[in-house]
């Protein structure tokens, strides 16, 4: 992002992501049969250093699932979760298995992330009245810093400051926490807001 969005546009963006995230939370709670709550959408321009200080340390090991928008290449979604929480989630959706292999956990996680992204997109499609498609997701487990910086760079975001847009999801009862990031290509946010008439 070359120019910082004005306050009104910031609010509008936050609202769009909030609507998408809310839709995703509902879909996830149906899937896991447990209430899923969401924090207020996080929208902030931050230097990497601050991201690692305030959101997640760069050396934290996480599982991350990446889905690309195709057709309209607006950017990517990145679902980030602690490996233990990923395992707990997998046990909820695959309750008949006592022991889950890493492969099963990862495919359950990938599918859950896919559902989050697809339901997020459904809600946003209704807002902008244009079709949006996401690719088949890919997953990895690595350091948060390696993943985040590489994902921003792959979207041609080369600034020392990154525009962080994310929803945090929690499942009540058991504390399972995950974050869905949207990483836009440059100028995409302006374009999206224009399509919303803002």
């Amino acid at each position: 992002m070359s120019d910082k969005p004005s306050l009104l546009r910031f609010d509008a963006l936050q609202e769009v992501v909030n609507i998408g995230g809310g839709h995703a939370a509902t879909a996830l709670s149906k899937m896991i049969g447990n209430k899923v709550e969401m924090d207020v959408t996080f929208v902030e321009l931050l230097p990497y250093e601050k991201v690692y200080e305030t959101i997640q340390s760069d050396d934290t090991i996480v599982k991350a699932v990446l889905s690309k928008l195709i057709g309209r290449e607006y950017g990517v979604f990145l679902f980030v979760i602690d490996p233990e929480d990923a395992e707990a989630l997998a046990h909820i959706v695959l309750p008949d298995n006592d022991e889950l292999s890493e492969g099963l956990i990862d495919s359950a996680l990938t599918e859950l992330s896919n559902i989050l992204v697809q339901s997020f997109l459904q809600a946003v499609m209704q807002l902008i009245d244009k079709p949006l498609f996401a690719s088949v997701p890919v997953m990895t487990m690595d350091m948060f810093g390696s993943i985040l910086s590489s994902v921003y760079m792959a979207q041609s975001q080369f600034s020392e400051e990154v525009f962080i847009i994310k929803n945090n999801f929690y499942s009540s009862g058991r504390i399972i926490e995950g974050s869905l990031y949207f990483v836009p290509k440059p100028k995409v946010l302006e374009q999206l807001l224009k399509e919303l008439g803002i």
Binding site: Y48, E49, D58, D59, I61, L66, K68, S135, V138, T140, M141, D142, M143, F144, G145, S146, I147, L148, S149, S150, V151, M153, A154, F158, E160
Partner: protein
């Protein structure tokens, strides 16, 4: 007492033994450890991009391999009066690979190439490297002996 000096993304630091230079979470970025063996002074650079030529704003020169390395090497040579500088490099991964992506688009690979080309131009030998692949890396540079540890998730530590 030795200190651990952390180098962030698009940044670099110079330090002297017995201190350690560290950079965490290299993905497609490349970490370049440079060392003047007589004075035991070294530098660690964490570049993000291969080349500055398509960017209008190059004030953050430490971000680009083609600008960062000549500058840092100059600084190191001036400070130590040593001409023989050594390099060890790590990083340049492709963290996520979609099957339909061509290799030419992968920033990690382009970063590795640019770092190697720039170091060749500066006549600095790459003593050892751990580059490419799909995994993130952290670098720990010991300035006493230029021992460089590369740490990865679920893999054995690699000593450069």
């Amino acid at each position: 007492m030795s200190e651990q000096i952390k180098v962030g993304i698009s940044d670099y630091k110079l330090a002297t033994a017995p201190n350690q230079l560290v950079t965490i979470g290299l993905g497609s970025c490349v970490g370049i450890a440079l060392y003047a063996p007589e004075s035991k002074i070294g530098a660690l650079s964490h570049i993000m991009l291969p080349d500055s030529s398509s960017f209008s704003d190059t004030s953050k020169w430490a971000k680009f391999a083609n600008l960062a390395l000549p500058n840092i090497v100059n600084e190191l040579r001036e400070q130590t009066k040593e001409t023989k500088i050594l390099a060890k490099i790590a990083g340049g991964a492709s963290m996520f690979t979609f099957t339909n992506e061509s290799q030419t688009l992968q920033i990690g690979l382009r970063n590795i190439e640019a770092v190697k080309a720039t170091l060749t131009e500066l006549e600095i030998p790459i003593v050892s490297e751990h580059v490419g692949g799909k995994m993130g890396r952290s670098m720990y540079v010991d300035l006493n002996d230029f021992n460089v540890k590369v740490r990865m998730v679920n893999r054995e530590e690699f000593i450069l």
